[in-house]
């Protein structure tokens, strides 16, 4: 437990250091109002990173999350254009369902056909984007076509925090409960930590991976609606390349690519770290030519920290499994 604590402590320290650094160049960055804005901006990354965390935990990877997001977002936008009367709650339920369905497709191939997850999701990533083309012939859905209720839901502020931010909070708390208090959560750790041993304890490895993909897909679908409503535009390329940010957030957050090691707090902190960098670079007047290099360097430094902290990962899994009981 102390090791886990220290891993997240390092991240918290890194985030505070980052904020202090940015504030020395641009003090306005750490005003509460701006921090809320940065958190809201990072909310989609947080939600997706949590889904990805579950998948990576079970020794898989989901590269199709951004494409899933784009397709679900486009479907929601198209429904809103054709039937403006459909309430947002129904759209959200639909987004969750459609996202889960796409996750289930990934999970099915991994479970029943034993195809490596990276291959499956690389394929479905392209297929999902392709389906958007088929649906729209490449045309955009623009802000004036969307209904007011559709656009305003994610930005409605409750207690000063927009709904988009609250969704990230709720997903974090919800997934935190699942990971720490349910058999399913324990199964995710067990399958990633030692798939062979978990078979002998009666866990169905394939089914567990399938469920991880369903969770990841469902969260991607939810984010799809929120994304499209927030930026008030839907087109084929939305969130292009975002899947890499999501994986990077997980890796920064101490999620082991080899599976078996992850914490909800780590994934959230990893996403926040990346989100703060993305939001800070535009305001501290860094040349755009340097921005990519800086983001990349931050990832490598964070990963270096993590790999040093994660040496004795075998013990960590057992401990977290004990706590889950």
């Amino acid at each position: 437990m102390s090791l886990l604590k220290s891993r997240e402590a390092i991240l918290v320290a890194a985030i505070l250091l980052l904020l202090a650094g940015v504030a020395s160049r641009f003090p306005g960055f750490i005003t509460p109002r701006n921090l809320v804005a940065v958190f809201t901006d990072t909310a989609p990354l947080v939600i997706l990173a949590l889904g990805q965390m579950v998948v990576i935990l079970t020794r898989s990877i989901d590269l199709s999350v951004a494409a899933n997001l784009a397709l679900t977002g486009m479907v929601c936008a198209l429904i809103n254009v054709s039937f403006p009367g459909v309430p947002v709650a129904v759209l959200i339920a639909l987004a969750l369902g459609l996202g889960a369905l796409m996750g289930a497709i990934n999970g099915f191939f991994v479970w029943k056909l034993s195809i490596p997850p990276i291959v499956v999701t690389l394929g479905t990533m392209t297929i999902f984007r392709g389906v958007i083309f088929l649906l729209t012939n490449g045309s955009w859905v623009n802000s004036h076509q969307m209904s007011m209720a559709f656009k305003s839901f994610p930005r409605e502020a409750i207690l000063g925090l927009p709904v988009l931010g609250w969704v990230a909070v709720i997903v974090t708390l919800g997934l935190g409960l699942v990971m720490s208090r349910t058999t399913l959560g324990r199964a995710f750790f067990a399958v990633g930590g030692n798939p062979h041993a978990s078979v002998y304890t009666g866990i169905n490895v394939g089914r567990t991976q399938f469920l991880a993909f369903v969770i990841s897909g469902m969260l991607a679908g939810l984010t799809g609606y929120l994304w499209v409503a927030r930026y008030a535009v839907a087109y084929v390329d939305i969130a292009g390349g975002f899947e890499l940010d999501v994986v990077a957030a997980c890796v920064i957050g101490g999620v082991s690519i080899a599976g078996g090691v992850a914490t909800v707090a780590g994934a959230v902190l990893g996403a926040l770290f990346l989100g703060i960098i993305k939001n800070a670079l535009p305001v501290i007047d860094v040349s755009p030519f340097w921005q990519l290099a800086i983001s990349g360097a931050a990832i490598i430094i964070a990963v270096t920290f993590n790999s040093r902290a994660g040496r004795s990962k075998g013990r960590v899994i057992l401990k977290s499994a004990e706590h889950a009981q």
């Binding site: 701006n34 984007r129 087109y235 084929v236 670079l281």
Partner: protein, 329 residues
């Protein structure tokens, strides 16, 4: 390797079938920067219009699925394999396409660039939608017209390597002396992604609290910037302008985030590029400095020393005329 060979043979086979299906028709390929961008979809409409006017032309509208030079090279290689008569391309990179396009010209294929140009040795002529100095002047004029007392403006561009965006910004800077009191405080890049453009626009408003206008000479950027201004509650304070499509900007004009913006008509552009490619491939016009090439209903284009020419002036859209155009493109 096997895959490449398979793809090539499929491409050749497709070419043969297409060839036998309509042996008489001239086949002109219109290559977009990427599929799925409203602007190019509209250009393809114009190309079809030209084709139906000419009668004996088949349009192949194609492009990569993302805005990369590599993607376009693949597409062009497959078009060469299909042995099309002409290729009209809007380039993702000025130089990267040159070797491939040279190969196309060696096979007797007419090659022109339009919208975003290819280096001189890689094409026979280039059709600019408008003249670059005119566009550069227009984007700063759009901002200045609403700032009689001067003010601070910032530029939100696409990627750092976008050929035409960079040229327009350069031309805009040259025109600055005509607009005293207007100061360009920053140039940032949104990479043609909605989320990054939105963040960059938000960052601009934070870094420059007195900012009066954001000029975005790119369609993803201008839409994202307008949304960022609405969300920041700065409608009326910060005017978003630049180059965008009426269908995509109608919401921003409605909300007041944008007073006006400009664009040439992409339908006219696709139409003109097709007409030019047709006449060059047919051999009844040649692409050389000083030459005039007919463009059907758009008149004629006159080529300069670099064998490029301008189609028309950019057109300004605002609350008064947006309704007429938002359903067209």
């Amino acid at each position: 390797m096997k895959l490449t060979r398979l793809l090539t043979s499929v491409a050749v086979a497709t070419g043969l079938f297409a060839g036998s299906a309509s042996a008489e028709d001239m086949r002109i390929a219109l290559v977009a920067k990427a599929l799925g961008i409203g602007f190019f979809e509209a250009a393809a409409k114009g190309a079809e219009e030209a084709a139906s006017e000419l009668g004996d032309v088949e349009i192949i509208y194609t492009g990569p699925t993302d805005t990369t030079a590599e993607g376009q090279i693949e597409v062009i290689n497959s078009l060469i394999a299909q042995n099309v008569d002409a290729i009209a391309v809007s380039a993702n990179d000025t130089d990267a396409l040159v070797p491939t396009l040279k190969k196309a010209m060696q096979r007797g294929i007419t090659v022109i660039s339009w919208d975003s140009g290819v280096a001189e040795e890689g094409r026979q002529m280039h059709l600019n939608p408008s003249s670059n100095p005119l566009i550069g002047n227009m984007i700063i004029k759009l901002a200045a017209d609403h700032l009689p007392d001067g003010g601070e403006v910032a530029v939100l561009s696409a990627t750092t390597t976008s050929t035409n965006q960079n040229i327009w910004i350069e031309e805009m800077n040259k025109a600055m002396e005509n607009y005293p009191g207007i100061e360009v405080v920053a140039t940032v890049y949104g990479d043609d992604l909605a989320d990054k453009s939105y963040r960059e626009a938000t960052g601009l408003m934070q870094s420059y609290p007195d900012l009066d206008a954001i000029i975005a000479p790119t369609s993803v950027g201008i839409v994202a910037a307008a949304q960022a201004v609405v969300d920041a509650g700065k409608v009326g304070e910060v005017n978003v302008t630049g180059l965008g499509l009426p269908s995509e900007m109608a919401g921003a004009i409605e909300s007041g985030a944008s007073q006006s913006f400009a664009i040439w008509n992409p339908i006219d552009l696709g139409y003109s590029a097709t007409m030019i490619a047709y006449h060059l491939a047919k051999g009844d016009a040649t692409a050389e400095p000083g030459a005039s090439i007919p463009m059907g209903r758009m008149g004629e284009v006159t080529l300069d020393d670099t064998t490029s020419g301008a189609m028309a002036d950019p057109f300004v859209y605002d609350a008064a005329n947006i309704a007429d155009f938002k359903d067209i493109f």
